[in-house]
Symmetry: C2
Subunit: 140 residues, 2 copies
């Protein structure tokens, strides 16, 4: 398996195991976010449910993945870019869900706009999920 993958695991002080390598690989070789179920029944693979839960949890804690809330109440996971360490996430980007192909992607270069709040309200974190049609599906 790819060297880059074990490097990421080691850098985050996680033992390099087969499941972790395979699951991390799914994210690296995939655009878009994945849900727990996507991973559990991935073509050609069969991961134990519990292992998937624990692996995703560990990856989120370490800042390798971040979660994306969706309207239909299913959590999706996506790779964090560079600077999330030890659970201090800085994923201030917009998430886009295409209603045609169903893919969820991180729009990393599209910054969260300023949001007006009532007096004395303090914002710590702003989640934006845009639902629509992506470039690819628009053309077809």
């Amino acid at each position: 398996m790819d060297n880059r993958i074990s490097d990421i695991l080691r850098r985050n002080r996680l033992s390099v195991t087969e499941s972790r390598q395979k699951i991390l690989n799914l994210f690296l070789s995939n655009t878009g976010a994945l849900a727990h179920a996507d991973i559990e029944h991935k073509a050609g693979e069969r991961f134990d449910r519990v292992t998937v839960y624990r692996t995703l949890q560990a990856f989120v804690e370490k800042g390798i993945l971040h979660t994306i809330p969706t309207a239909d109440n299913s959590i999706k996971y996506a790779l964090c870019k560079n600077d999330c360490f030890e659970g201090h996430h800085h994923d201030n980007h917009i998430h886009f869900v295409c209603s045609k192909c169903g893919k969820t992607e991180c729009l990393d270069d599209f910054i969260i706009p300023a949001v007006k709040l009532p007096k004395n309200y303090i914002a710590n974190n702003i989640e934006i999920v845009v639902n629509g049609v992506c470039n690819n599906c628009r053309k077809n």
Copy 2:
């Protein structure tokens, strides 16, 4: 029970039943959003789980309530203002979750800002959930 409540139900072509009246009353006499669990184990009441699910579903379909996605993967429900009919929702407002008191509220007068998207992407719906501290908790 309040006349206003049976009026709302009748206006939406729903039979006026005890559970529906009581559950709708919870929303009318409560600021903030409620989750399924909040309703099921409401002080002094015990609603059947299935009834709560079906009631919430019916209310959302009719446009009496709308759902709010949350980061922790639990759906919350809140009253729609006036103009949602027959499932055509127009709740283009920001949702605010206070990390101190845990309350979720609809900021009805705070409009969703324009969001920049990549070329050829089309936005149909934009969900914004702001996490922070509300006015009330800030003062205490």
